[in-house]
Amino acid sequence: MFLSIHDIRKSFGSGDSRVEVLKGIDLEIERGEFCVLLGPSGSGKSTLLNIIGGIDAADSGEIIIGGERMAEMKERQLTLYRRKHLGYIFQMYNLIPNLTVRENIEVGAYLSDAPLPVDDLLQTLGLAEHRDKLPNQLSGGQQQRTAIGRAIVKNPDILLCDEPTGALDYKTSKEILKLIETVNQKYGNTIIMVTHNGAIRQMADRVVRLRDGRIRDNVLNADKVPAEALDW
């Protein structure tokens, strides 16, 4: 198994205001799998994603990625782990305002020893003609595509997407989802996507539904639908 998550627990606050957000999560994901984490607000899906990404720490439990135990990693090792294995896409694009589209993607390429060719990627992302524009000259969809480019240019093993379409309209959201699907097929990255948009589950290999800090369902999707065909 590529990613094994075992009995992950996490709580915030202390005393009376202590809230247990994750109450023992067990999950296994195969290499190259497209996994969607579904659930309402407060169900713990973003927290789980952050723990997998090594930017938040679990109170207890274990995560093994490609044979490496995350709990044993110090801060520096965690940074190297993220550098080597992870790509991040957020709801807000968080692009560097005074770098062009191409340069923002290079920011990701710099982290890898063998990055994908940036110009090919710009073509794939449909950003070739905008390569020299600054983020504030782009639409929301174009900015998110740039952010995706920045995340995947280093060809990460795992692409973590936190509500990547949350700030986009229907049409742009579908474009982004198609792009993520293409990336998954073309580069074979494992994708874990947090969303509260139920329709997206149809394009995933695995659908994990969280509620109140626990996994309600964990099902493999037999009838996978291409992003193009999604509707909500």
Partner: protein, 772 residues
């Protein structure tokens, strides 16, 4: 692959051009000035030290009552020295100055001609450059002393008068009222014998290895000389202030200048750090994303340090170029203002490069690194969530609703920007320090001159002198006769005259340089020093007490110069007199203490000139001019620098206020934009944001002024203790504080105008664009 983030650096510099420009200007000007100072100081000091050899400067000189005859010269030359005639005459010039005129010098103490030509004929003279300038005399002008007139044909520096001390015992030199010049040999021969001073310069045939050897050698020589000839004075080079003062003084300003530079760099580093912290807040989510993607903290720290370091590097390079060109000349001018230095060549100064380039770079890197390391220590998640507080549960401070809304709002702006205001406080305090120095020192000097003029011990203080041949152990009868003659000739009928005896001892403080303290033996019912010195009571002058923190009951220990005799005096009171570091005791007790005759005295206090004493016995008459030499000289030599310091302080005020207010407005751009959308007018918004900073500027000014004043008084006190003889009471007029306050508020008013424009230009869509 090179880090793509580096492409932001130049763009950042371009985008924030005004900010970086003012920092660059301030930094390059500071570095330039200090670099110029260090280069000029080093080059001139080197020229000064080399001048000893280049201009064949004497190893010492002595004066005899009459010209030495050939036999005497021959015997003296056998003492291991080479003797050179260096007669001179002190001429009272019509412009109320004293000009010491020499014959041409061909072998020793050579002249460095700096303009014009050497005198060739009778009626021609060359003058010391500084004296000429201070008295507005140029080549081609005429100068007169009674019936004599000379045409100035050249301007020069005399190598044995780099500092214009007329008398080696003076506490300060006087380049305004005393100067030196050289006339042709023919012209010099026209002076009457009675006008001439028979001075002989000497050089050792085998130069002493070090200062200690030089001292021993001089002592031996003095002993040998007194066997051969009668001496009026003996001044070895290491004791000659006219030669040595320059070298000692030039070195001493360096430390202060460098500390000044480092303080400026440290303040600018904090300004950079505050701006960068603000950028970090602005870019929090980007930083979070980069950290989440695998960028290390070190990479980001290096990235955010790049702009400050680049600006510092450019400033240092520009500063050094300015230093070697423009500012070197400014500093040269400052030195040439005080000293009669020869011409010099500019030398490369590696130490200056280190102190003005490498150290500022290091300081900038260190301060920024420490602050950035702390700022970027938060987890990537916190950055992504824009949660940049360290404390877990930060509660808003409760402000009573009775306070009007606008005031509460302003108070919150202040709380939000406390680190900015703290930096502002440090900057304002520093600018205050400079301004107090620039505005206060002239006041201190003025006050000193005023008080000394109104608080003289007496209008005239006549010091009697025993002719050198009076005391001769081998001829006791002669001595007795001379003493009787002296006693008769030194009596006066002047009714205001009052006898005193006087003796100079050195302080014995281990931590400070030895300084001369004058002990007066005065009449018990003295009208000039009205204190109770009956019995063995001792009073200290307030100058002495203030400088060395003395109070009644304290004991001071003094020693005889160059000897081991120690004297202790317990102070019974302090007499308000700032003209000298003195102790007063009854003449009776004085004569007992110093083992002198019961009636012995050495001079008179008097309110009217004493005219009936044999001129032979009058040593010096001390009047106001003598006592104010220190302050007058400081006024001349530091006058130019004070205006520079003031301008610099105001520049610091403006730059810091501009940078920090800019940050505050930028930080709140979104709220300002939102307030505009809600319908607040630009005036109302300005009152919210600009008035908070205005209030803080006023508070910073008011709090820092007394603190800085106390600090400055202490700093000057320490400087006087360690580096200068004498005492200046630190009295400034209250108007100084008003001036500083107005300079601060005025500078801020300018900045506030710029900020008002900035607020007007915040677009309303700022609030709409960045809603997250």
């Amino acid at each position: 692959m090179k880090n793509p983030l580096r492409r932001r650096i130049l763009r950042e510099l371009r985008q924030e051009f005004p900010k970086y420009l003012v920092i660059f200007l301030l930094m390059s000007l500071s570095i330039g000035f200090i670099s110029g100072f260090l280069v000029a100081d080093n080059s001139m000091l080197s020229a000064y030290w080399n001048s000893f050899e280049k201009y064949h400067v004497e190893d010492g000189h002595f004066r005899t009552p009459k010209a030495m005859n050939k036999a005497q010269k021959k015997r003296v030359n056998q003492l291991g020295i080479t003797l050179y005639d260096q007669f001179y005459t002190d001429q009272a010039m019509d412009n109320e100055t004293t000009l010491r005129i020499f014959a041409p010098r061909d072998t020793v103490n050579l002249v460095c001609l700096m303009g014009g030509r050497l005198p060739e004929e009778t009626g021609e003279i060359i003058l010391d450059r500084l004296y000429a300038r201070n008295n507005q005399i140029a080549v081609g002008d005429s100068i007169t002393a009674g019936a004599r007139t000379w045409t100035v044909v050249g301007i020069a520096a005399l190598s044995d008068y780099s500092t214009l001390f007329s008398d080696n015992n003076d506490t300060m030199f006087d380049s305004i009222r005393f100067g030196v010049g050289v006339v042709s040999r023919e012209d010099f021969s026209l002076f009457r014998d009675s006008e001439l001073m028979y001075s002989y310069a000497f050089t050792y045939e085998s130069p002493p290895a070090d200062e200690a050897a030089e001292k021993d050698r001089a002592e031996d020589l003095l002993e040998d000389l007194t066997q051969e000839i009668k001496l009026k004075s003996f001044v070895p080079r290491f004791q000659n202030q006219a030669i040595k003062f320059t070298g000692e003084d030039m070195g001493s300003d360096k430390a202060m200048m460098i500390i000044l530079l480092y303080m400026i760099i440290a303040i600018l580093a904090f300004v950079f750090a505050v701006t960068t912290s603000n950028t970090i807040i602005k870019e929090a989510t980007v930083i979070g994303t980069l950290r989440a993607s695998g960028y290390t903290r070190g990479e980001l720290i290096r990235h955010y340090m790049a702009s400050p370091l680049l600006v510092t590097l450019i400033s240092a390079v520009t500063g050094n170029i300015l230093g070697y060109t423009v500012f070197r000349k400014v500093c040269e001018w400052m030195y040439y203002n005080s000293y009669s230095l020869p011409t010099y060549t500019v030398l490369w100064n590696g130490e200056a490069f280190m102190e003005t380039t490498l150290v500022p770079m290091f300081l900038m890197a260190l301060i920024n690194f420490l602050i950035l390391r702390r700022a970027l220590a938060l987890s990537p998640l916190k950055f992504i969530r824009r949660d940049l507080t360290r404390k877990k549960q930060r509660r808003a401070m409760k402000l009573p609703y009775i306070i009007p809304f606008f005031s509460r709002f302003r108070f919150r702006v202040v709380l939000q920007n406390l680190p900015n205001y703290l930096t502002l406080f440090v900057g304002i305090a520093f600018a205050n320090l400079l301004l107090m120095f620039g505005l206060g020192l002239p006041m201190v000097l003025d006050n000193f001159q005023e008080s000394i003029t109104t608080h003289l011990l007496s209008n005239y203080q006549v010091m009697l002198t025993l002719p050198m041949d009076t005391v001769n152990e081998d001829h006791k009868l002669e001595t007795l006769f001379s003493m009787m003659q002296f006693s008769a000739g030194a009596e006066t009928e002047n009714e205001t005259a009052e006898k005193f005896n006087i003796h100079a001892l050195d302080t014995t403080y281990e931590q400070y340089k030895a300084e001369e303290i004058t002990i007066y033996g005065i009449e018990e019912d003295s009208r000039y020093v009205p204190v109770d010195v009956s019995g063995s009571r001792v009073y200290a002058s307030s100058a002495f007490a203030d400088k060395y923190y003395l109070k009644p009951g304290d004991t001071v220990t003094l020693r005889e110069k160059y000897e081991d005799d120690i004297y202790s005096f317990t102070i019974d009171g302090v007499f308000d007199y700032i003209g000298g570091l003195d102790l007063f005791m009854s003449r009776e007790a004085f004569n007992q203490t110093f083992d002198e005759d019961e009636d012995a005295f050495a001079g008179y206090f008097s309110d009217t000139p004493i005219t009936d004493i044999d001129e032979e016995y009058v040593g010096t008459v001390i009047d106001v001019e003598d006592l104010t030499k220190v302050s007058r000289q400081l006024q001349v030599s530091m006058g130019g620098m004070m205006s520079l310091v003031n301008v610099f302080a105001v520049v610091i005020f403006i730059v810091l206020m501009y940078l920090l207010s800019k940050i505050i407005i930028e930080k709140n751009a979104q709220s300002i934009s939102l307030a505009k959308i809600l319908g607040y007018t630009n005036g109302e918004i300005s009152r919210l944001y600009i008035l908070s900073t205005s209030a803080m500027v006023v508070i910073c000014l008011l709090i820092s002024m007394p603190l800085v004043y106390r600090a400055l008084v202490e700093i000057l006190h320490i400087m006087l203790l360690n580096e200068m003889t004498g005492w200046l009471p630190m009295a400034v007029k209250p108007i100084m504080f008003v001036e500083i306050f107005l300079a601060g508020v005025g500078s801020y008013a300018l900045v506030a105008l710029v900020e008002y424009r900035r607020i007007r230009h915040v677009p309303m869509d700022t609030a709409l664009k960045n809603v997250e």
